[in-house]
């Protein structure tokens, strides 16, 4: 499914980056929100539509309490408003807040800078061990590849008997 953030969804998510992501990720907000679009696009369409509707509801819901949309709340109010959903009055509020937390945390720690901060350097490691396998174990790797294709009929004595 192709998914695009609406301007409302983008604004709400952008405003939630300081609430959900660590302070050191603040400058990555746009990249995090962009990444979330990719993830949401892979979800079941019903879930993606539910999230999109939820973001609009979340945005407008702040009007009642703060007189302004969630996407325009200051840091203290944004924190308090999200927390009110996180510990919400209905399971739907709670699940929505949890879902956004999960998606945004995923996108946050998919940023190369954040992975580096965790000490996670998978690309270099993959390159290193792949090279090792194809050199140190080259003979065994070749033998296994040959074994995969070698004749070894399940029923040696039988020929296909299709009329």
């Amino acid at each position: 499914m192709t998914y695009h953030h609406s301007s409302t969804a983008r604004a709400v998510l952008r405003s939630l980056v300081p609430v959900i992501c660590p302070p050191e990720a603040a400058h990555l907000a746009d990249a995090i929100v962009d990444h979330m679009a990719l993830t949401i696009g892979a979800l079941p369409s019903l879930a993606a539509k539910g999230l999109a509707a939820g973001l609009v509801t979340y945005d407008l819901g702040a009007l009642v309490r703060y007189g302004r949309r969630a996407s325009r709340l200051g840091p203290v109010q944004a924190e308090a408003y999200y927390a009110s959903w996180e510990h919400g009055i209905t399971p739907v509020h709670v699940q929505f807040a949890k879902g956004i937390n999960q998606l945004m945390s995923l996108s946050c720690y998919e940023q190369p800078e954040m992975m580096e901060a965790c000490g996670y350097r998978a690309a270099g490691w993959i390159e290193q061990v792949t090279k090792k396998r194809l050199t140190v174990f080259a003979d065994d790797v070749r033998k296994q590849n040959e074994q995969i294709l070698a004749p070894d009929p399940l029923r040696p004595s039988l020929k296909k008997e299709v009329a």
């Binding site: 953030h5 990719l38 949401i40 000490g119 998978a122 792949t130 396998r133 294709l149 299709v162």
Partner: protein, 512 residues
């Protein structure tokens, strides 16, 4: 503006693999056997029957990717290789998030590569229920599968610190721990099993049974979603599907093999109009509920370097519990934490000192796959018996991790305090944690088209032949009459090999 897009670059395809790029209009194909799904069951049947001389077509909903396409871009791999981005939910309280592969090679592309025979106690149970399946009868099929996918113990140098800590803890407790048997040829510990093995070491169906099937003449049509099995009365006659580009694809076949996994196979049977005399299609869903704990150590662990699940703690196997170390990338771990903001940052900065340990529970509850508007929806309610077993397992696993030097342990249920000692771990058992409080995931779905000797109680016979249907065989984990308590891939492959032998032996009945 960001949009969802293919994240993997699909390179050249081997001869015999056709994708959405090769289907330029409505297409009709003919063959002896059409196999729906290219995972553990489908690929095995396809390879065995192709070598026996049958003309086989495999139809796969997912795309074709080769080893070179698998990179360190975790979320891109998840988006492309997992159904629904890995976020499919079985409805229940708690909901159970489950993952299925959706690519050529199926879930074998994204599993941990554990290769275990069906435990004898399970085969005995099945035999006692009337099935003509015994450990002795299955042995040649297990041997054949193990040779094909190169089941072996791990090279010692590929075992990472997280697994060594698991072993240290088990040894300190005096608990049984064994080296995992895995389908790998010199795994070098990239620890990326769940995202497509980038070294080619994991002998998934993608690099074993599928190449073999192609070598012996099978054709694989990727990017084609099967809508229904066509039939003439009770006789299956082929499949109808649609390519990712929107063209109709019809395959006419003498035999149809459904190998779409325990969620999609029952839905396919139902929407194709097949009815079991037992009324049990979609029932009997087992899930091996799985929970994880995170242990934090003082010293660096660097768990992402080293083989995934090199060991399994088998001390509590008879009680239906297995433990393993299951490192995941930071992003996947971060999304599992309830923490956010500064607290999340403070936790994640300790990523390199964490051991993620998981636990598989052989469940007593069963759920159901219902077909709603043609689509499968799983329903599964964790019962209090299994929740109590999970609670005991978390307590024991935590004790083990403390015995290996863990300083703190984070737990998989709502509002749980961190554990700071083995005494804390033991005190976990003081208060019952209700089923609804758990965070449960799984990758082992089984049992929804169960085999059995009694057609009034089962969906298929022991070869997967669907009762009250003709020329229709199931070859995936749907067949399991009960959960098996270990990783299911080898059991699926062995049963599929057995089914292939049955088809070859009875070719006049199935493929004339």
């Amino acid at each position: 503006m960001a949009v969802a897009r293919p994240a993997l670059i699909e390179g050249a395809r081997p001869r015999g693999v056709f994708t959405r790029h090769d289907i330029h209009g409505d297409t009709v194909l003919d063959c002896d056997v059409v196999v729906i799904g290219s995972g553990a069951g489908g690929s095995t049947v396809a390879a065995e029957l192709s070598e026996a001389g049958f003309d086989v077509i495999v139809v796969e909903e997912g795309s074709y990717y080769a080893t070179r396409d698998f990179t360190a871009d975790t979320s891109a791999m998840v988006r492309q290789l997992y159904r629904d981005g890995g976020a499919t939910i079985a409805v229940g309280n708690p909901p159970v998030m489950y993952q299925e592969g959706r690519a050529v090679g199926g879930s074998t592309v994204i599993n941990g590569g554990m290769s275990w025979r069906t435990p004898e106690r399970v085969l005995d149970r099945w035999e006692r229920s009337g099935l003509d399946i015994s450990a002795k009868a299955m042995e040649p099929y297990f041997e054949r599968v193990e040779k094909r996918i190169h089941v072996a113990g791990m090279d010692q140098e590929a075992i990472g610190n997280d697994n060594q800590l698991l072993k240290k803890g088990a040894d300190a407790k005096g608990w049984k721990i064994i080296g995992n048997l895995r389908n790998q040829a010199h795994c070098v510990g990239s620890n990326r099993c769940a995202f497509g093995c980038p070294t080619g070491a994991k002998q998934s169906a993608l690099v074993s049974y599928i190449p073999r099937a192609l070598h012996y003449g099978a054709r694989v049509y990727a990017d084609v979603k099967v809508d229904r099995i066509t039939r003439h009365g009770k006789r299956a006659t082929g499949v109808m599907g649609k390519s990712a580009a929107g063209f109709n694809v019809a395959v006419r076949a003498k035999l149809v093999v459904a190998a779409c996994g325990a969620i999609h196979t029952p839905a396919l049977l139902v929407r194709s109009g097949f009815r079991s005399p037992s009324g049990r299609i979609g029932h009997n869903l087992s899930m091996h509920p799985n929970v994880k704990v995170v242990a934090i150590y003082d010293e660096p662990v660097t768990g992402w370097k080293g083989a995934h699940q090199a060991f399994q703690v088998r001390e509590f196997e008879e009680q239906g519990l297995l433990f393993a170390a299951v490192n995941m990338p930071p992003s996947v771990l971060a999304m599992s934490f309830p923490q956010r903001g500064r607290a999340l940052g403070e936790l994640m900065v300790q990523y390199d000192r964490m051991v993620l340990a998981g636990m598989l529970c052989e469940d007593t509850a069963t759920g159901r796959v219902r077909t709603i508007d043609g689509r499968p929806q799983a329903f599964y309610q964790l019962n209090e018996t299994d929740a109590a077993n999970l609670q005991r397992g978390v307590s024991l696993l935590s004790e083990l991790l403390f015995a290996s030097g863990a300083k703190r342990i984070l737990l998989p249920f709502h509002g749980a305090p961190e554990l700071a000692s083995a005494d804390d771990a033991r005190r976990l058992l003081d208060n019952r944690i209700p089923a609804k409080g758990w965070e449960v995931v799984t990758v082992h779905m089984m049992g929804t088209a169960a085999m059995g000797a009694d057609r009034s109680a089962a969906v298929t016979d022991s070869f997967g032949t669907v009762y009250d249907a003709d020329r229709l065989i199931v070859a995936d984990a749907s067949l399991f009459p009960t959960p098996i308590g270990v990783n299911p891939m080898e059991t699926i492959m062995a049963l599929a090999t057995r089914a292939a032998a049955h088809i070859i032996d009875n070719s006049r009945r199935f493929v004339s």
